[in-house]
C-alpha cells in the first residue's frame, strides 16, 4: 500500500462572498475565488480600463495596481487580492481631472490603437511612485514586459518622461 498525501485544491470553483477593495470602494460579490481578477473588474464592476489582451499574463494590457504594485489581472485569481487595495485606470483620475500620467499620455499623443495604453499607464504610475525621476533607460526597463504592436514606443517613453515632470510640478505645487 502507498500512503499518499494528496493535494485537493480547496473548493475554489464555487461562488462565495468575497469583499474586494477597488478604487477606494468596497464591493462584496459572490464569486468563485479562482476567477481571474480581470473578469470581475470588467464584468461585475464595469471597470473596463484594464484590457483583455493575451489572457496569459504576457502582454500587460490588463495591468492593475495591487497595493501600489503592478499586477496582471488576467492571471491573478480574485482570492489573491482579498485584503489588498486594487487600483484600476478608473481610479487614477477623471476626464475633468486626469492623473498627471494620463495627462502626459494625452499631451504626447502616445496612442495609436491604444489597446496597450492601460498597461503602459499603470506600469508608469508604479514606476514613478518608486522612482520620481527615471532616466530613459530606466523607463524602457520598467516597460519591457508591456507589449505594444503598433510601435508607438518612442511616444510612450516621451509620455512617461513628461509624466515625471508633471508629477514633480504637482508635488512641488501642493507643497508650497
Amino acid at each position: 500500500m502507498r500512503d499518499v498525501q494528496t493535494a485537493p485544491s480547496p473548493p475554489m470553483n464555487t461562488p462565495r462572498p468575497l469583499t474586494l477593495q477597488v478604487n477606494h470602494a468596497e464591493h462584496t460579490l459572490s464569486v468563485a475565488p479562482d476567477t481571474p481578477l480581470l473578469y470581475i473588474l470588467r464584468n461585475d464592476l464595469c471597470c473596463n480600463g484594464p484590457k483583455y489582451g493575451c489572457g496569459l499574463g504576457q502582454c500587460g494590457a490588463c495591468t492593475v495596481l495591487v497595493d501600489g504594485m503592478p499586477a496582471r489581472a488576467c492571471v491573478l485569481p480574485v482570492r489573491a487580492v482579498v485584503g489588498h487595495a486594487v487600483t484600476t485606470l478608473e481610479g487614477l483620475g477623471t476626464d475633468a481631472q486626469p492623473d498627471p500620467v494620463q495627462q502626459a499620455f494625452i499631451d504626447e499623443q502616445a496612442a495609436q490603437c491604444g489597446y496597450c495604453l492601460n498597461g503602459m499607464i499603470m506600469t508608469a504610475k508604479a514606476l514613478l511612485a518608486q522612482n520620481p525621476d527615471p532616466d530613459e533607460a530606466q523607463i524602457r526597463e520598467a516597460l519591457r514586459f508591456n507589449l505594444c504592436r503598433c510601435g508607438t514606443h518612442v511616444e510612450i517613453v516621451r509620455a512617461v518622461q513628461r509624466a515625471a515632470m508633471l508629477q514633480r510640478q504637482t508635488a512641488g505645487g501642493s507643497a508650497s
Binding site: 500512503d3 485537493p8 480547496p10 501600489g68
Partner: protein
Amino acid sequence: MNEGLVPQATPATAVAGSMPPPAADCLVARVLTPPGLRWIDGKPLAARLLGAQHEAALALPGVRAVVIRNNFAGVAAASGAQAANAIQALQARWSAPPRADDAPVTRHALARRGNADAVLAGADARHTQHYQWPLAGTRGEAYCTAVADWRDGKLTVWLPSTRPGALRAELAALLGIAPQQVVLACWQSPDDRADPALLAPHAAADAALLAHAAGLPVMRRLCAADVGLADAALDVRVDTALAGTAIEAYAATLAGTAAPAVPLALWLTHTASPVADGIDADHAGATTMPPYRIPHVDLVATGNAAAFDAAPPAAARAQVFARESHLDELAAASGTDPVALRLAHLDDARGTALVRQVAERAAWTPAAPRANTAAGNVQRGRGFAYAHTIDHEAGQTWSAWVAEVEVDGTTGELAVTRVTVGHDSESLPRAQAAPSARSLELAVADAALQLTSATPAFDTWPAEAPSASQALPAVPGSALPEVRLAGTLAPHDALAASPTGTMPAAAAVANAIYDATGVRLRAPPFSADRIRLALAEARPGNQRSKRGWIAAAAAAAAGVCATLMPWRAPIAPVAPPEAGFYSAATLERGRLVAAAGDCAVCHTAPGGAKNAGGLPLETPFGTVYSTNITPDVQTGIGNWSFAAFERAMREGIHRDGRRLYPAFPYTAFAKISDGDMQALYGYLMSAEPVKAEVPQTQLSFPFNLRPLLAGWNLLFHRNERFTPDPSRSAQWNRGAYLAEGLGHCSACHSPRNALGGEKGGRQYLTGGSAEGWEAPPLTALSQAPLPWTEAALFTYLRGGYAPHHGAAAGPMAPVVEELAQLPESDVRAIAHYVASFGTPAPSPAVLAAQAAQLEQRSAQAARTLGGPGERLYQSACAVCHQSDQGIAQFGVKPSLALNTNLHSKLPDNVIQVLLQGMPAPPNSELGAMPAYADTLDDQQIAQLTQYLRARFAPDKPAWQDLENTVARLRAMPAH
C-alpha cells in the same frame, strides 16, 4: 552596586503613572537586525549596511516613516504586517559580518588581596569550576516594549524604566535635541516578560528614532534575539584552594558577553554616547569582593572591564551565583555543612546574625538526617546562599536564602516548595506604606520560579498555557512556594523593590537541587529537560538505554500478539456524546491537533463539506477513497466510541473490525499522546454531522484482501506512543512529536519499499513522492542549491515561501495552509526538528554570498542559450521571475537560480508547476502563478523545462525523456 543603574525612577526624570497612547493609535516599528550581530566588550560587532531601497519601502501602503542612518534601518507602519512588508521592501544589502579582532585577550584585575596565584599554584586541594549566567535568563523568547511620541518639540518615552539618567542623555544625542526635551515615563506592557534592564534601552531608542521621523506615537517590541543577545552569557571560572575546611585562596575570572549599556541604535547610527557609564575599577572590585574571610583573593575580568562595570546587575548576579554554588561544592567536598562553612568564614557581625536567623527560621540543622526520598521518585533537598553588596548610595545590603525543592527523578520537573528569605539593609526604611505581604511573596516566588523555567511537555499546546495576563509563569501542577521571612527585616517594599534581595536565589535553588539529587547545575535556568538529562548522565551505567531496549522488546512482543490476528472484533456502536460534553479548552486543543494532523486535507473532497470524505487518493495499488469522519451515525463516525476511534488511529482498524489501508497514516498517528487523542476525538465528535456516502474503495487482487494487512502491519507498523529523547531540547522533542506523529512528514518525504512500507533508519526523510509530485529529501541529501536552514524552513512552513528556495506548491500547499492554524512556536519546533537532519547551516552572510554566486552563474549560462525555450521563457516567465528585469510586481519574484526543484534529480515538480500553476498559494501576498496545461503542448513544456534546467542549474545534467514525462504527468488526474 551603582545606584544609577538600579531600576528606579526619580521624579526628576520620570513621569509616574502616565499611560502611553493605546496600542491602536501607535505605529508599529520594525528594525533590521544586522546579520551576525554579537557584542564584544560592550560594543556590537555587526555587518555594515551597504544599501537599502528607502523609496520602495516608503511607497508601500500604511508606511509612515523609513529611517536609514548609517547601519540603522527601521520602518514605522500602521500595522505589524505593513511594517513587515516595508522591511522586506527595503531589500537591505549588508557587508560580510566583521571578524572579531584576534588581539590577545586582555585581563584586568578587578580586585585583589594577598597573592592568590601563588597559593593556588602550591595548593594541595584545588577546585576549579566554570559557571554560566545567561543574560536573557529564562526568558530568551520574551518581549520588551517601549512607546515613544514626538510632539511639540518634546519626546516622551514610556518604558519599563531603567537607568533613566543615562538613557535621557542618550536619546537626546540620538535625535540631536536637548536632554530637557526628553521625558521618560515608567510603564510596562502587560504582555512583557523580558528583563527590562537588558532590553528596554534598545526598544526605547528604536521607538524614539522612528517616532521622531513619523511625528506619531510608535510602539517597538523586541526580544533578545533582535539585538543580538539571545545566546549572550557571562562565564565565571572559579579556582579555590582549601586547607582543611578553610578556604585559603579564591580566584574568579569573568568572561563572556556583558549586557550592553548603550542602546544598539546609537551604535548603528554612529551616535557618540554622551554618557560615560564606567566606574573606576577599584570601586567595582570592592563591591564584588567575596564577603568572606579569605586571605588570598583575585578577581579578574577578561576583555573590557568597563563593559562589565557598565552592567553590574548581571555581572554581580553571575558572580554571586558562581561563588555561592562553588562554596556549596567546597562544603560537599570537605564534608562540611554549607551554612557552617559560611559562618566559619564570616567576620561581619550583621551578616553572621542574618545567616543564623535565616537558618533558624528555616529549621536548618546540620546534623539532621536527610529524608530526601518522598513519595514515588520525588527527591527533596534544600540549599543555602548568601550575598552582601555595597552600594555607594544605598549602603550595605545583606541577604540570605534557604530554598527547599522537590525534584521528580523521572521527569526532571522541579518545584520550589519553600523559600526562607532574610534581608538587611543600611539604607533607611522608606516612609511609604509597605505593600501587602502578598505582593512580597509574589516577588520572591517569581524570582524562584523564573529559575525553574517550566519546560512544556512535548504535547503541550499553547492554548493550555497560562494566559499572558497572569502575574506569574505558574508551573502547571505546582503551587507557589511558601515564603518565610527572617532578618532584621527591612520593610517589605525594600525587598520587593530591591534587585539585591533576590541575588542569592539562583545559587540557593541550584544548591538545593544538588542536595536532592546529587546533580550539580552550573548554569540557570533549571528546566526539567536539563535536570532530566543531568540525572541520566549521572546514573551509573547507561541504565536508560538498557531499560529502553527492554521496553521496546516488550512492546514489540505485544505488537506481534496484536497484529497477527487478521480478523478483529467489531466494537459496539455507541450513541454520540451529547453537545457540551467536552470543555471549550478540550475542543480548542482538538482543533489544533486536527490542524497539525492535516485531517481535512484528505478527508474533504473538492467542493464537499469539511471532513465528509470522498477524496480519491491515487496509489500504485489502485484508488482509495477517504472516509466521512463527521459524527454522522450512518455514514460517518457518529456511533464510534473512543475505544473504536483510538483503535482506528493507532492500529488502522475500522470500528466494524475491517482493516484500513495505510493510505490512512495510522503508522504515524500511533505516536499521538493520549491527551491529544482524546481531544481530537472530542473535537471531531462535536462537529456538525454531515450525511455523505463515499465511494467504495476497490483495489485489484490481491490488494483487495484486507486481512492481508495484518501481515503488512506486522512488518511495517509499530503501535508505540511517542517518547521524548531526554538528550534533546524540549523544542526538538515538540518538533519531533509534531513531525513524526501528527504531521506524518515521513509519509511523503521518506522512500517506500515495493510493498509501500516506509523506509526508516538512514533513509528516514530522504525523499519520497506524493500524487505525482516529488517530495524532496529533508536531510543532508537535499539537492537544494543552497542548504535549507532552520530559519528558511520556518519561513517556508509558516508563509509558504522561502526566498532562497521557492514556494510551497502541489500537495505541500494545503499542508502549509493547515500549519497556519498552529501557533508560531509549534511551526518553529517542526523547523528546528527537521533542520537537525540537515547539514549545519552556514551564516546568513555566507548564504547570501552563495546565492549571489548562483545567480551570477545562471546569468552566465543564459548568454549561450537560445531557441524556442528561450522565447517561451521570455514571454511567459521572465516578467515574474527575472528580478533584475522589468518592474517589481505584486507578489514575490522567486529566483529560479535558487529553486530547489530545478536542481533536483527529477523534473516532475517543475513540470507539475508549469502544468498546474499555483492558483492558490497559502499566502495571498505571494501572488499566484497561472497554469500552462491548456496553453502549452507537451513539446513546448519539455522545451521550456529543458531551458530552465540549462539556464538555472547549469552544473546539473540535462533531464532526459522530458516529453514522455510531461505526457505521463498530464494524464494523471489532478485534484
